[in-house]
Amino acid sequence: MSPVRRTLITLLAAGLLAGGCANDPSGSGGSGGDTIKVGILHSLSGTMAISEVTVRDSELLAIEEVNAAGGVLGKKLEPVVEDGASDWPTFAEKAQKLINEDKVATTFGGWTSASRKAMLPVFERNKALLWYPVQYEGLESSPYIFYTGATTNQQIVPALDYLKQQGKKSVFLVGSDYVFPRTANKIIKAYAAANGMTISGEEYTPLGTTEYSTIVNKLGQAKPDVVFNTLNGDSNVAFFKQLRSAGFTAQTMPTVSVSVAEEEVTGIGPANVAGHLVAWNYYQTTEGTTNSTFVKAYKAKYGADKVTSDPMEAGYNAVKLWAAAAAKAGSVDVDAVKKAAGGISLDLPEGKVTIDGENQHVYKTARIGLIQPDGQIKEVWNSGAPIKPDPYLKGYAWAAGLS
């Protein structure tokens, strides 16, 4: 017994020692030295990897471009990439590591609301910055997070306005069972009540569900004017395939999705979703030279068959916006950057993007798109001008009871 113990204790001690070595300050952190370290924290493994890897890639592209243009404050950016592993505590752990061990100046990361909620206390506790690049359910405004994806009044509310304008009276809600769909549906129900629309059904399935025949049956019985789809991830593939094989088309059972972008369309198979609607702030087809340069640069770096999507663009924007804020502040210090960020306005792939200094969200143009048979998305409506972010929906009378 005792020799065994001895080996084990030696192993343990070795482990501890290695841990001790691992936390030696490794080179230059933050703004010291010749480079500025920035953290990139997305799921590179697990169920979310398929989506988040693309955001990491576009953020790396943006960093490369910033460096090619001379870096920030005369220093090159050095990305430190960590894997959130689709696991919320891992996101919190790696965020802490980036802040304490790598001493990064800022971090770009997250996708699911759960990962953001897990990281939020870490960034607030350490007074460090996070740039979160995905559309989300709103009702949040952390002083240490910048939100470059849409909040509800820049995506869901415009989508509802569009549906109302198209004369849709009854809406069926289908969503994955987590915070975003539930909050989104709460907002949709309040909107419907105030605008004379009816909710003909509300169904949730666990993340990763692939069996939708029951829900498709219910849709057939309820015969809604439109299905509001807040499913996330793989479930969309199963949902749209089963909807189609049950004989429904985009004409007989139109849907509007808020988590299906170019990347997901490729996964579902364009033939299965062509003709359905989506609501975002950016499409690969969005017009403008900034976007065509972005798409070209992305394809040149990662392959001609790759597509660009809204969250990727928002991640790309985050890097550019932070670099602009740091340049304006003349420092990468968190408070200085926060102070300088308000009002910064850049010409980015989706158009003009301005940071709202008060709630640290950005002004975004809402766009409704129609999925094309070739997998691209064609814009059929837009809000005309960037919409001021309103995460708590304070400017909407019908949303009074929501937050």
């Binding site: 017994m1 005792s2 020799p3 065994v4 113990r5 001895r6 080996t7 084990l8 204790i9 192993l11 343990l12 001690a13 482990g15 501890l16 290695a18 841990g19 001790g20 691992a22 936390n23 590179l44 493994s45 990439v81 960590e82 894997d83 592993a85 696991d87 919320w88 505590p89 891992t90 919190a92 752990e93 790696k94 802490q96 590591k97 304490n100 061990e101 699911t112 609301s113 759960a114 909620k117 897990a118 939020l120 206390p121 870490v122 506790r125 359910e137 009702l139 069972d177 987590y178 915070v179 539930r182 909050t183 709460k186 666990p206 993340l207 937050s403």
Partner: protein
């Protein structure tokens, strides 16, 4: 004597050296590994000694964790944040008693022990064992996760419980206070280890091993195997509950992902690597496994899962009794070779 010296060295390493040498971030991580090690002590008792392959230990970890998390969420007297965004306006009845710290602390142990006892009596009396028990416990973990996710207004759904600042007077935003929390965790691990070791060495421990190796024989001797096994299962559940309760303030959140099938398997894998027949092996295995997970994922963010998987396969193929079983294996190999030589 030598065992005692080794234990003392380990205690000094964990209680004195680690807090002095490690950065606050690494110390936090070590604290998390220690939580898993507490669970490992329980698994080693139930699986190594009792032969109950429990694939659902995450459930008990979660029960303890949620009991603690609910209390921590109620400390500021306000409605927990996730309830307001889930549309719950009033504190649910289920939550109310958890505002009381004594009740919450009691529930950390009572809930998992109660569930394990009920399940144990039900299952072991029916003489369900082996793979059937393993599958059953795994199904329990899956069902528990679905329940938690479905009741978002009550449990926080997939997000779980997050954002705690205070833990019984400790400010979790302060490094010094976090160090105290770490030390508490290390002491709890030491206490769990010593008590389970005592239990294993008692007559009860011998009976448990006897049941593992020949349940029917023990039954014919007049003992009730169901009762003996239930006790071991309940103790392991209680330890998992305590570990879960410490995990919550240390890591700062608890979500269904921490107690589902994968999380439960990971708890088990650490024990398997260290060696389930040895308590010390199980503890070291849990520490090593989780330490390796951190280091691999930092070194190779893209491919760390493959490295980890390959190592696990290697251990299972070449050291089926775990690292702690290596020297036994080595001795066996030597003696069998000697036998061969003698025969030749």
């Amino acid at each position: 004597m030598r065992n005692r010296a080794v234990f003392a060295v380990a205690a000094i390493l964990l209680l004195v050296v680690a807090p002095l040498v490690l950065s606050p971030f690494r110390l936090d991580l070590l604290g998390k590994y220690l939580c898993y090690a507490i669970v490992a002590v329980g698994i080693s008792l139930a699986w190594g000694r009792g032969g109950m392959l429990t694939l659902g230990q995450g459930v008990f970890f979660g029960l303890g964790g949620y009991a603690m998390g609910m209390h921590l969420k109620l400390q500021d007297g306000e409605l927990p944040d996730f309830m307001s965004w889930s549309g719950v306006e009033e504190l649910p009845l289920l939550w109310k008693p958890f505002a009381n710290p004594v009740f919450a602390l009691a529930m950390v142990i009572v809930l998992p022990v109660l569930v394990a006892t009920l399940l144990g009596l039900l299952v072991f009396r029916q003489r369900v064992r082996g793979a059937y028990f393993a599958v059953l416990s795994q199904a329990l973990a899956a069902a528990f996760v679905i329940l938690l996710i479905g009741q978002q207004g009550l449990t926080g759904g997939t997000n779980g419980l997050t954002n705690f600042q205070f833990f019984f007077g400790l400010d979790l935003y302060e490094d010094a206070d976090r160090r105290i929390l770490y030390l508490v965790t290390a002491l709890v691990l030491g206490a769990s280890y010593l008590s389970v070791r005592q239990l294993v060495r008692s007559r009860y421990g011998q009976l448990l091993v006897a049941i593992r190796d020949g349940e029917d024989r023990v039954r014919f001797l007049g003992y009730d195997p169901a009762l003996v096994k239930t006790v071991a299962f309940a103790v392991s559940a209680g330890l998992a509950g305590i570990a879960g309760a410490l995990f919550v303030p240390l890591v700062g959140l608890l979500s269904p992902a921490n107690l589902g099938i994968v999380a439960s398997l990971e708890l088990l894998v650490g024990v398997a690597i260290g060696g389930r027949y040895s308590l010390a092996g199980a503890v070291a295995g849990a520490l090593l496994f989780n330490y390796a997970k951190t280091i691999f994922s930092e070194q190779w963010p893209d491919g760390w899962l493959y490295v980890q998987g390959a190592l696990f396969v290697a251990v299972m193929v070449w050291a089926p009794r775990g690292l702690a079983g290596l020297s036994h294996q080595f001795r066996d190999a030597l003696s069998s070779r000697r036998k061969v030589e003698v025969q030749a």
